[in-house]
Amino acid sequence: MDILVLLKMVPDVVEELQVDASGKALDTEFLRMILSEQDAHALEQALLLKERQGARVTVLAREAPEVDQALYEALAKGADRAVRIQAADGGAGTRPAATQFAQVIAGDPVFRGADLILTGTQANDDLDGLLAPLVAHELGLPFLGIVVSVSIDAAGGSATAVREYPGGVRGEFSVALPAVVGIQAAEKSPRYVPVAKVRAVMKSASIGKVEASGIFGQAMPQIEVLEMAKPAAAGKAAMVEGPIEAVAVKLTDILSERGLL
């Protein structure tokens, strides 16, 4: 059983985000890039499958700031192999990224033979499409998203996956393998890995590199970003300020006035 996990670096939205001089993109100067949260869940799901049913887990990511850190962390957590795609400037956006992932997967016998390709259901910068269905489309594989648990069926040719619907409803699916599955949340929270272990892995293991062929991004149907801005807050909150005790009293006043106490 070979599991391929596609990882993507995204801006950390906990940090303050600023628009750059073009007015169309984020200012990268102070941007902190982190592994997309749902991709961390996809990795965790792969590691859970490895532990439960046996699998070889390969993580694959495009060149991006901080990506090596994320790849070493994945190795420290238990991934068997980490590979970085070189020269990722195939155009911004998720569609060029998906095309590049698909080309790299199709061009490598091990990747191509993966039984299961996992990645996050969505990322915070998926403006022009979602990665999992795009990769599935390019590789001609089935896709299932919003998944919260996966297990490989005994015969090995299919998986059982549970996905979410609105209102707390879930659906249990049979998925023919190979398939691309978009993970919403792993069965358990992503595991913690101590810094010391990551450092040790950085000394003992290495990240594989694969060159992307340069043909992506050419006939890509593009969207044009006209502007990027912080949302014009329609009904921006009235901010209650002061020492915490005074704020608590003010909030209590508001609740009283509204008949909520």
């Binding site: 985000l17 628009v19 619907y165 209102g167 659906g171 998925v175 919403q184 949340a185 949302p231």
Partner: protein
């Protein structure tokens, strides 16, 4: 002649999803601005009667096939793309919900057409359709356009009031033949209904909602006490549920419940669009978060920039005192 605007209706378990009416409202605005017709697309199996609810559209294109009985995004895209190729609509508005997530992306990919996700608003400027899209967990918005056709737009809930997309009278129905390959490689075995929780949060007047900001399960206790003082219940955003700190029945948002309480006290919740979707219509929203830029403050009526671990005890004390005074008055 300008091609039509298509609005893909979302139907699930025999009902038209609310997002469909938002999409119809928005589609109507765009169609009127372009002087183009708006057509609704309904896919399903023996689902034609649902078309009667799509009165806002000039016509309903209906695709019926046994494999369309469940709204699988791949099957939907497979069924619709040949028709879109043939009829060349200018824009296809596709709901982006936890029912059909991935459908718009797949449809655009099959058509080789441009796509924009997380659309919160559509407008027409200089004859071009522009989509305002939510980015980076709600912290930014991008205004995008596309020269290619059709422009496939994944619509995020909350763009227009649902009433605006409703109109009396059943529109004419055109049933379109569907060709689908026999092989269905992703198959629904069964639905798993949510376990009834101890509390139905959709029925509560007051909800104290906790997010990542509460940091540890132990801190739920004080949230519970605040909720008790207010005669309400505690609910949570996804990270709290994923941690197992609260049961699934207490989740608010895209995958969880949609609530409309009189008071929604959001503690340590950033206000990611997935969460906002489930609570945006609350009568009074008070938000407490350490991040002054948190998107929850765009929506809240009152906001406090503070650590919820400081705010909760202060609030418990203040409310407790007030209630004491009230009971002696």
């Amino acid at each position: 002649m300008t091609g039509a605007i298509w609005v893909v209706a979302e139907q699930w378990r025999g009902r038209i999803s609310p997002i469909t009416f938002e999409a119809l409202a928005l589609g109507r605005e765009v169609a009127d601005a372009l002087g183009a017709p708006m057509h609704a697309v309904l896919m399903g199996h023996q689902a034609a009667p649902l078309a009667e609810r799509l009165g806002k559209a000039a016509k309903v294109l209906y695709l019926d096939h046994p494999l369309l009985a469940e709204p699988d995004p791949g099957t939907y895209a497979e069924a619709l793309w040949p028709l879109a190729k043939d009829r060349e609509p200018v824009c296809i508005v596709a709901p982006l919900t936890n029912v059909t997530l991935g459908f718009g992306t797949l449809l655009a990919a099959k058509l080789g057409a441009p796509a924009a996700n997380f659309c919160r608003d559509l407008r027409v400027s200089g004859g071009m359709i522009q989509s305002r899209c939510v980015m980076y967990g709600g912290k930014m918005e991008s205004l995008v356009t596309a020269a290619g056709r059709p422009f496939v737009v994944g619509l995020w809930p909350g763009s227009r009031p649902i009433d605006q997309g409703m109109a009396a009278g059943a529109p004419p129905l055109e049933e379109v033949p569907v060709q689908l390959p026999e092989l269905k490689r992703v198959g629904l075995r069964r639905y798993i209904e949510p376990e009834a929780g101890d509390v139905d949060i959709t029925q509560q007047d007051v909800l104290v909602a906790v997010g990542r900001g509460i940091q540890a399960k132990e801190n739920l206790e004080i949230a519970e006490r605040v909720a008790e003082l207010l005669g309400g219940a505690v609910c949570g955003s996804r990270p709290v549920i994923d941690q197992g700190w609260l049961p699934l029945s207490r989740q608010v948002g895209k995958s969880g419940m949609t609530v409309k309480p009189k008071l929604y006290l959001a503690l340590g919740i950033s206000g990611a669009p997935e969460h906002v979707e489930g609570m945006k219509d609350s009568a009074l929203i008070i938000a407490v978060n350490t991040d002054a830029q948190a998107p929850i403050f765009q929506l809240a009526h009152y906001g406090v920039v503070a650590d919820v671990l400081d705010m909760m005890p202060a609030l418990e004390e203040a409310i407790g005192k007030r209630k004491q005074v009230g009971s002696h008055a």
